[in-house]
């Protein structure tokens, strides 16, 4: 019997190894293409083994560095401010909701539940945010609507209830701790694993966010990295589809520009930080997901 188990292991390991390669190879391809020369790309297309290497793509990126740095700042602003606001506002709500002897709790539970059952949908959200709140081209639209997450609130509430004994809160109160002191000095430190998991997911969500930017941000100075990537893509398609309207010099510039390797270089800059940060947060995911059994 032991033999049987052992004999299965190599096959399993090989299968898992292949799946791992499948997961990572597209990302490797991006890095390789970003370092490929333009001739190699136009001759062989995207390939893992380019005929010649070059830094053209990355050099071209540095030409646009002003716009890219600007977009990086917007993305970092959205990620940092959005995540901190979400963790703070949502956990404050969750802590209050976790207090069983508070008479407002049942009402608040229903108040949250209704938002999970029914939503206004994209259209009315859009019209109300632009027409009534005037959030078009306002950087607040990137961080404020997501600052209170009902789903995360219920996860945090469950976490507090199962990890912070009520007797601890009572004891702290006996010693004269006020609610604010209790929340900041006792509850928040105890919530660290939960905050790390939800915070990382929220940060990734903000970093990769494109839909809100696409709908609400039209000022190029306020474009996040993802929106910048979309814009570059669209303008290249536009140029290629309208070749006949361009001057010869423009066509020449377009043909010699290392468009593919440049796009992939920008992609590397965009994906890099998350893929580097992620292994440090991985240990919190399992916890973060398993505390996710939502119950009202």
């Amino acid at each position: 019997m032991m033999n049987k188990i052992k004999s299965n292991q190599p096959i399993l390991t090989i299968v898992l190894g292949i799946l791992t390669l499948v997961a990572v190879l597209p990302l490797v391809l991006i890095v390789i293409v970003s370092f490929s020369s333009t001739e190699s790309i136009s001759l062989n297309g995207f390939t893992f083994f380019p005929s010649s290497w070059s830094l053209e793509g990355w050099q071209y990126v540095s030409k646009y560095s002003g716009q890219i740095v600007q977009s990086y700042i917007i993305t970092i602003y959205e990620t940092v401010v959005g995540t901190i606001l979400m963790l703070l506002i949502t956990s404050m709500f969750a802590y209050a909701l976790s207090r069983s002897n508070w008479m407002l709790t049942p009402f608040l539970s229903i108040f949250l539940l209704i938002t999970m059952l029914f939503s206004g949908g994209m259209v009315s959200q859009y019209i109300i945010r632009t027409n009534v709140y005037h959030l078009k081209d306002n950087l607040l639209v990137l961080v404020i609507p997501g600052a209170m997450s009902v789903y995360n609130c219920l996860i945090m509430r469950t976490f507090i209830k199962s990890n912070v004994p009520e007797s601890l809160i009572d004891a702290a109160k006996m010693d004269g701790a006020g609610e604010m002191y209790l929340y900041f000095k006792v509850i928040l430190p105890l919530m660290k694993p939960c905050l790390a998991a939800l915070g990382f997911m929220a940060a990734v969500g903000h970093w990769n966010e494109w839909q809100t930017s696409m709908l609400y941000i039209s000022d190029p100075d306020k474009a996040s990295l993802q929106l910048l990537l979309m814009r570059i893509e669209n303008s290249m398609q536009y140029l290629q589809n309208n070749m006949e309207n361009l001057s010869i010099a423009e066509i020449k510039a377009l043909q010699t520009a290392p468009s593919d390797s440049m796009r992939m270089a920008i992609l590397c800059i965009t994906m890099g930080p998350i893929l580097i940060a992620y292994p440090f947060f991985q240990k919190y995911f399992v916890k973060g997901i398993t505390v996710g059994s939502v119950k009202g």
């Binding site: 997961a23 990302l27 391809l29 297309g45 949502t90 206004g120 494109w210 993802q226 893929l275 995911f285």
Partner: protein, 313 residues
């Protein structure tokens, strides 16, 4: 009666006053929910109005069910979108669940723990890549001079124009979905496996069960409740689809709409083009909201019967 009611009000008031700091804690979240969830719900009336920018939502004229009627009368777009939305939901649920559970079992069975951990780390990575980046990757693979066409050519086949032919896209989108979500999706099943009773497996070993028998008769039945719960909870989102996948990865190309247009991409498209058809688009979101609400309530009734600790309310 009156006496007890006034007593109750007094007790409630005292409780509120005693916990006034808690009121302060919920205030920001409360205001945000009212502003960004409850007030837009009122905006759903737009589905029954002819939207006029100068009049605003509340003062626009009522048109009854005209918007929704128009949606279903004007060609088969509406039916196609609904078919695509629900079809992809079912496809992704079935294929995705099989992939998630298989990967979880494979990782769990792997005796090289460090290797399993490493390959899990790598396989979760695609979850954190934005759909904009993925649309770049997919076009790098499928474009005219892309990776796939290069291989086809070197093998002597004709090139395939993926961005014109809708018929390939159900398979492409499913592959992209599985590639992106499986690593992360398997985590929840893996943690369910970690919590399983090991004694049962030892007993099965003594009875001479082989590996496949143990998976078939012990592991899968134990995972079945997790699978059922995950499937049921997802039903509330049946009318929604990932705009990243269906709008970005398909590059919003009209020729592909027969296989790729869903309700959400229709709405997103209408909004980003800023047309005058807000009423009709609002009709689509109204249908989504009503079906979503109905499904969530029904599903919750079922979940409360079979597994009360997972129910929403």
């Amino acid at each position: 009666m009156n006496y007890t009611r006034s007593m109750r009000i007094k007790a409630f008031g005292e409780n509120m006053w005693k916990n006034k700091a808690l009121l302060l804690l919920i205030l920001p979240g409360f205001v945000l929910i009212v502003l960004f969830s409850y007030i837009p719900m009122g905006g759903l009336v737009l589905a029954f109005k002819e939207f006029n920018y100068t009049k605003g939502i509340w003062k626009s004229d009522w048109v009854g069910f005209d918007n929704i009627k128009f949606l279903f009368m004007s060609g088969d777009t509406a039916w196609r979108m609904i078919r695509n939305t629900i079809g992809y939901y079912v496809l992704f649920r079935v294929v995705g669940t099989i992939a998630n559970v298989s990967l979880a079992i494979a990782l769990n069975e792997c005796r090289h723990k460090y290797f399993a951990k490493f390959s899990q780390t790598i396989m979760i990575m695609p979850t954190f890549i934005s759909f904009i980046a993925i649309s770049f990757i997919v076009s790098g693979l499928l474009a005219d001079n892309g990776y796939v066409n290069n291989i086809l050519q070197s093998l002597g086949f004709e090139k395939i124009q993926f961005y014109i032919e809708p018929k390939y896209w159900p398979a492409i989108l499913t592959l992209v979905h599985v590639w992106k979500e499986t690593g992360y999706g398997s985590v929840i099943y893996l943690s369910a496996l970690a919590g399983m009773d090991q004694e049962m497996f030892e007993a099965a070993d003594i009875d001479g069960a082989n590996r496949w028998q143990k998976i078939r008769y012990l592991t899968l039945p134990m995972l079945s409740s997790t699978i059922a719960i995950m499937t049921l909870l997802s039903l509330g989102n049946m009318m929604h689809s990932s705009t990243g996948l269906f709008y970005q990865v398909t590059r919003n190309i009209g020729a592909l709409y027969p296989a790729t247009q869903t309700l959400d991409t229709y709405v997103l498209n209408a909004l980003s083009e800023g047309g005058s058809t807000f009423g009709i688009t609002a009709g689509v979101t109204f249908i989504q909201s009503v079906v979503g609400c109905f499904m969530t309530v029904v599903v919750n009734l079922i979940v409360r019967k079979i597994s009360p600790e997972h129910s929403l309310f």
